[in-house]
């Protein structure tokens, strides 16, 4: 598997560390209530298909990336810097 880092270009997966679902970018408000916080902390989808994840380019530029990928085909559909939303599709 390879991920196209918006800064570094196409890189081998060994340079990256996965954090998990990109839900970490959608933190509920402090007063959102127990249900919202329970869902944020503990409940995860396990999709067969397209999902978004956070990957860290540990052995590269050190950026956090939001990666959209298909868990069935292993296709990487979109990679963006979490910081500023710079996006690049795999066709670039």
């Amino acid at each position: 598997m390879q991920i196209r880092c918006p800064l570094c270009g196409l890189r081998d997966v060994r340079e990256f560390t996965i954090k998990g679902h990109a839900i970490a970018l959608s933190r509920p408000a402090p007063d959102a209530g127990d249900e919202a916080w329970n869902a944020y902390l503990h409940l995860r989808e396990n999709p067969a298909g397209v999902t978004t994840e956070l990957w860290h380019h540990t052995a590269g530029c050190g950026a956090w990336l939001k990666v959209t990928r298909n868990t069935i085909t292993h296709e990487i559909l979109k990679v963006a810097l979490v910081r500023d939303g710079v996006e690049r599709t795999d066709a670039d």
Partner: protein, 184 residues
């Protein structure tokens, strides 16, 4: 206090020459990490030009002047290598002294790409990694900064604590490449 002897990161480990490729250590006067404040990238580049005669390198690039070179080293970060940085740079960026944190190795000669191809996952051949290019990637299992400052020369920086491992890995790769060449 006892008189202490300063050792370089790869003291007594280099130079090594095998099959036309030479691995040597470079000991820069200082290494400073420059991390521009939000929206200050252009201002930092201008200040750098004014103070040391080189621009701030963009991603995957390095720049050079007579006294210094600057190597892109990550998201919003570059290493300024040479004499200690001018204090004016601190107006536009965080400036962090990294002088003793890295070992700077130089791999020089025809076939440096073949040596590095055994250790790093990225394509460092001349066609895609040209003079003035830089990259963050791996050397074996070590995080490294690569820069090509001349056609047949690539500098490799890894954490100082890994100097011995880096030299060992590179030496083994150099031996392998040389053995393969002499077998033909």
């Amino acid at each position: 206090m006892a008189s202490l002897t300063a050792l370089t990161p790869a003291q007594d480990l280099t130079p090594i020459t095998i099959g036309g490729v030479t691995l040597s250590e470079e000991v820069p006067e200082a290494i400073a990490a420059l991390m521009p404040y939000a929206g200050q990238t252009k201002a930092l580049s201008a200040a750098l030009k004014e103070a040391h005669g080189l621009a701030l390198p963009g991603p995957n690039r390095m720049t050079k002047s007579d006294s210094h070179r600057a190597t892109w080293s990550g998201l919003d970060q570059a290493f300024l290598i040479g004499p200690p940085p001018a204090s004016e740079l601190a107006t536009h960026s965080a400036v962090v002294d990294q002088s003793d944190a890295w070992v700077v190795l130089t791999l020089e000669g025809k076939g440096v790409e073949d040596v590095l191809a055994r250790l790093t996952p990225i394509d460092l051949r001349g066609g895609s990694f040209k003079r003035g290019h830089a990259a963050r990637s791996l050397l074996g299992h070590m995080n490294a900064v690569f820069a090509r400052d001349a056609v047949d020369r690539i500098t490799i920086m890894v954490f100082r604590s890994m100097a011995q491992t880096a030299v060992h890995e590179l030496e083994e790769a150099m031996k392998g490449v040389a053995a393969r060449a002499s077998a033909n």
